[in-house]
Amino acid sequence: MKISYKATTQILIALIVISIICILINNLTVNLIKTGLGFSFGWLFRPASFALAEHPLPYSPSDSYAWALFIGWLNSLKVIFYSLLLATLIGTCVGLFRVGKNVLLRLVSAGYIAIIRQTPLLLQLMFWYFVAILGIKGTIASPIGSVLSISNQGINLLGIKLSAEFTSLLLGLSVFTSAYIAEVVRGGINSVDKGQWESFRSLGLKDSTGLYKIIIPQALPAILPGLTSQYLNLAKNSTLAIAVGYSDIYAINDTIINQTGRPIEGFIILLLSFLFLNLIISNGMEYLNTAIIRSSNPY
């Protein structure tokens, strides 16, 4: 009796979901036919005829739309990868300060987290770009030789040129995500039993050593799942690049949709490329997670 009741509800819910999606697909198809458009991806191999400011691989306007999209995907990947590293670095530091003994650092990091988490990311990106980077008048050079120079055209770090758009997106994404990562780190460390701190201290270990050897290994299993979802958020948030003029896959897709008049195909490609990207991230993190759990439980 109970089983059949459960099954009926499940079937009912499944039917509702399917019929909603049916209506959407039907709507789409009807409208496509109405405007005389079928599904097609042939345009992917036609020349893009627009230039790109940044391209990690050779690119010219006579290359195909498909190649332009791939360049956009690489641009996305580039900014996501570096933001990921930077956000983890800042986030871990702030998270540790938050649970540390230094009162000043604790207050500063609490303030940092509060401010960053309570303002929208788009606003922060606009701030980094239009105020922080483009607001620079002249060139700020580092005192020692040509290590670092910053102007409103971008950053030159040891001969590596980063555009103003890339820099502001990198900073914006890293700072925003770091505040969330800090909270994940703090939560992970707080999840470790207080007795662990007391026991390593009674063994005469310094706080820093104990943190590294005793606390963090036990906190990691609690931190990683939270970290994964922050990484996935970061990857998705990178599409706000369009607000600061960085040519990520979303921005390029936007131009392509406009030129070819194929929004549905364009968005499907966008969807798949993000699915692919996020599957890489989540599988990588899952692999890391399993490895850590295995190494901390050798039995």
């Binding site: 999606i21 003029g245 406009n258 599988n283």
Partner: protein, 348 residues
Amino acid sequence: MRRFFTGILTFSMLLTGCVNSSIRTQSRLEVIKSRDSLICGVSGKIPGFSFLNSNGSYQGLDVDICKAFAAAFLGNPNKVQFRPLTAPERFTAIRTGEIDLLSRNTTFNLSRDSSKGNGLIFAPIIFHDGQGLMVKKSSNLNSLYELAGKSICVGSGTTTEQNINDAFEEKSLPYTPIKYQDLNQVVAGYLQGRCAAMTSDRSQLAAARSGFRNPKAHIILDDVLSKEPLAPASAGGDQLLSDAMRWVIFALFTAEEKGITQSNINQKLEIAKNNPQMKPLRRFLGVEGDLGEKLGLPNDFVIKVISSTGNYGEMYNRHLGPNSKVPIPRGLNKIHNSGGLHFAPPFN
């Protein structure tokens, strides 16, 4: 991983066969009439064309065109809902039916008009424009050649983006495009010094410059990179709506040609009524014949339009004339008998 793909597979199998191909074919004009309001897509960010004024209503040439349509379709120029759209949004908005028509400084070109391209139908051109470049006077840049290797701020998803590329590529000059999603960002990037120049239609450059703190410190270069005929548009395959739009615009041109204005329209109507021999005027104003009905509009639609918005020249002067905030010389945008390009076929 495997569960994920099995899930997707099951799901897509369930969805196969839920496509219903029965298609309703109702003209958008009927939809507009039964809704008793016109939904018009505009930019909302270009002074002189469509811009929010201080009391919160939209103003400009593009906006007046929407009002003229509403006057013709619904008998009231105020039955319009304006939807501000970015350049990349506009075609999706029209295709999905979110808006009835587009009056958003949109360039008329082959890809956008063709059924295998964007699938739009364009109404007659209401503004002949061309793409230009604006630089700071202090930069001493005077031509396209001097911009080689420099950064140029451009709006993404516009014909502008393609034209600037064509212009530089043709001359084999290198340049760096810095692309933003809307014109306000292009302006901000340019004013903040990210780019040596900004590019857009010359009318938009003039409009943007009118809002600068020191408009005289910026010059628009003489290079004209493209033809930019701007026209309203509607979704393809809907002849009733596109015909109605076309002839409302021709009515605006014809009224200017015949010297019919907002202030003298009632006198002209009296003259037409009292003089049965003035056939063309009588047909134009709907006193005799059934020209309006042929379009699915009331026979007196021209009277409704001219008495609510004035003729094309009046619209132009209101928003872009010498005494407006964004003065743009009329040039090509004069009526044909004054040496411009605007020409309407006969109302027969």
